[in-house]
């Protein structure tokens, strides 16, 4: 059986990878995927803990987070479409009309 610690570390790595992706990638689509990655890290953490505790709460919560991620993606993509319509780009750097 895989020790819980391994699961948690993997989850943390996923979370961090997502974080790095969010901060560094320039393409909005990839940035949003990175957010999903972070959420998956969270899911994995929950599941890891739940398994260690021998209960199902974590899994249940994960489902909720997946639903949540879907909703977020929907809203996010809608906004992205709106942006793309007005300025024909999905580069994060170019979305900086408002500053200072």
């Amino acid at each position: 059986m895989v020790p819980t610690g391994y699961v948690l570390v993997l989850a943390a790595v996923l979370f961090l990878l997502g974080l790095v992706g969010v901060v560094l990638r320039r393409n909005v689509i990839i940035v949003m995927m990175s957010v999903e990655l972070m959420l998956n890290g969270v899911n994995m953490t929950l599941i890891g803990f739940a398994r260690a505790r021998g209960e199902m709460f974590g899994q249940a919560f994960s489902f909720m987070i997946i639903a949540l991620a879907a909703a977020e993606a929907a809203v996010g993509l809608a906004i992205l479409v709106a942006i793309f319509r007005t300025r024909r780009t999905v580069n994060v750097d170019e979305i900086s009309l408002m500053r200072h």
Partner: protein, 493 residues
């Protein structure tokens, strides 16, 4: 964990549920009815009023101790009910402004109001949450609706950009929040706030718990725009349609602070979490200083009134954080924070209503130059705006003054040099802030405008201005009733 559904719980939850259902009805109606016309706003307002009646009834009928619903998933206490009322009033006022605003700028209406109602129901869930899961659901319901509202102005680049920035940062913040919750769950095995509070006490030194806790607090800091999590605020506020901005400044901020108070005064209230060099009080002390200072000095030279008010909202978050620290020391001082929230909400709604009022036909006239000479052509609105600005700056006899005074009084009731320092810094900030609050007054009163502004003509905006300025004056001059309510709005009470 045994789980039994008590049908009576739904009665307590009725205002929230009702609002959610009503939102869906509005959406449905707009889908059927084509989305344009005045009736959606009125429909939304009707729903809010009905829900508000429910909340009021709940407040009057409320008996202590607080009621746990759905096995502790939600809790009904006067603290939450008080905030509910703020959301609903803010919602009504926003709907009134939006009604005129949307008509003028010609964009979809039905969805807008549905989203508004949804976000309010999310806020209500958030402050009623007795469990972190519920808390997340409420937060996300609110946030997703707000993201959509912010980006809801079709064809406006700023609106979409604002929505995007807010969304992306919100998503990351949500991830942080969830990760923090996951860690807390992992260490304690529960997400129920009450249970957590009992268990977590002995685990203050646990790295996982600490990381979890501060990830949650960081996410909340994002929601209420504390420095350094504030950077989305000016952009999102500037880009959003102005009624939405006002709503964000008033209601979202109130919800965020409500939730934050739930967390710090409920969950992390143990001494070991609170005090000492690594307790959250110290950290919030520093954040408070940073937030108000950076908010204020950034606002100094803003020529865009909307953006200036955005920075001002950051600064006010800093002042409110003083209240959070105070509540951390003495939970019975909750009234000071809540009164401040009310005063700020009312004032900022009024201020943004003026900002919404002045623009027309796809143009938001938000630079100071646009405001030149307003007082000459529209003295009443200028007077109201002056009132709001003085209230934001904390001059008597306005709500803002009394709120600030009450907050400082609460802070100074501890004879602690640290609190005194904090208050003095807040004082210095107030002076600085007065500089930029006076600038729109300068523009409106002291300058001559090249052309007369052509503001919104719909009467509903004037209703909002009337109501908010009356409230600003009433809260400033006859605050007794509100103070009494705020004083009763104790957590768990």
């Amino acid at each position: 964990m045994s789980f039994s559904l008590n049908p009576a719980d739904f009665v307590h939850l009725a205002p929230v549920l009702f609002l959610t259902v009503w939102a869906c009805l509005v959406l449905l109606a707009s889908a059927i009815g084509g989305g344009h016309g005045r009736h959606y706003g009125l429909l939304a307002i009707l729903g809010l009023i009905l829900s508000g009646l429910g909340v009021a009834l709940s407040w009057v009928q409320h008996v202590q101790p607080a009621t746990d619903l759905f096995a502790g998933m939600m809790v009904v206490d006067r603290f939450a009910l008080f905030l509910d009322m703020i959301f609903i009033i803010a919602g009504i006022l926003t709907a009134l402004v939006a009604d005129a605003y949307l008509e003028e700028h010609r964009f979809t209406e039905g969805e807008f109001f549905a989203l508004l109602l949804l976000s309010i129901s999310g806020m209500m869930m958030m402050v009623h949450a007795g469990d972190l899961v519920m808390f997340v659901i409420g937060l996300e319901t609110m946030s997703l609706a707000i993201y959509a509202l912010v980006a809801s102005w079709p064809g406006q680049r700023r609106s979409a950009e604002a929505g995007f920035k807010y969304f992306l940062m919100g998503a990351v913040a949500s991830a942080f929040l969830l990760y923090g919750i996951a860690l807390l769950y992992g260490v304690t095995g529960t997400t129920n706030l009450a249970k957590l509070a009992g268990v977590i006490n002995g685990k203050a030194g646990e790295p996982l718990v600490l990381v979890g806790m501060f990830m949650i607090l960081g996410a909340m800091g994002f929601k209420v725009a504390l420095v350094p999590f504030h950077m989305w605020t000016p952009d999102a506020y500037e880009g959003a349609p102005t009624p939405v901005t006002g709503f964000m400044a008033a209601a979202v901020k109130a919800a965020g602070f409500g939730a934050l108070l739930r967390l710090v005064a409920g969950l992390f209230s143990a001494d070991a979490w609170t005090f000492g060099s690594t307790g959250w009080i110290n950290i919030f002390w520093v954040l408070s200083v940073l937030t108000m200072t950076i908010g204020n000095i950034s606002a100094l030279r803003q020529n865009n009134v909307k953006r200036m008010l955005a920075y001002s909202s950051i600064a006010h978050a800093g002042y409110l954080l003083i209240g959070v620290v105070v509540v951390g020391l003495d939970p019975s001082q909750m009234g000071a924070v809540l009164f401040y929230v009310v005063a700020y909400a009312v004032t900022t709604l009024g201020a943004f209503a003026v900002v919404a009022w002045i623009g027309s036909r796809d143009v938001e006239r938000t630079t100071l130059e646009d405001w030149y000479g307003v007082a000459k052509h529209h003295p009443a609105v200028a007077l109201a705006m002056m009132l709001f600005l003085f209230s934001l700056g904390g001059l008597p006899p306005t709500a803002g003054f009394f709120a600030k005074f009450y907050l400082f009084k609460a802070a100074l009731s501890f004879d602690s040099p640290q609190m005194l320092t904090l208050v003095l810094i807040a004082i210095a900030n107030s002076v600085v802030s007065m500089y930029y609050y006076l600038r729109p007054i300068v523009a409106m009163y002291f300058r001559e405008g090249a052309s007369a502004p052509k503001p919104l003509t719909s009467f509903s905006v004037y209703w909002v201005l009337g109501i908010t300025s009356a409230l600003v004056l009433i809260l400033g001059m006859a605050p007794d009733a509100t103070l009494a309510w705020a004083a009763q709005a104790l957590m768990g009470g």
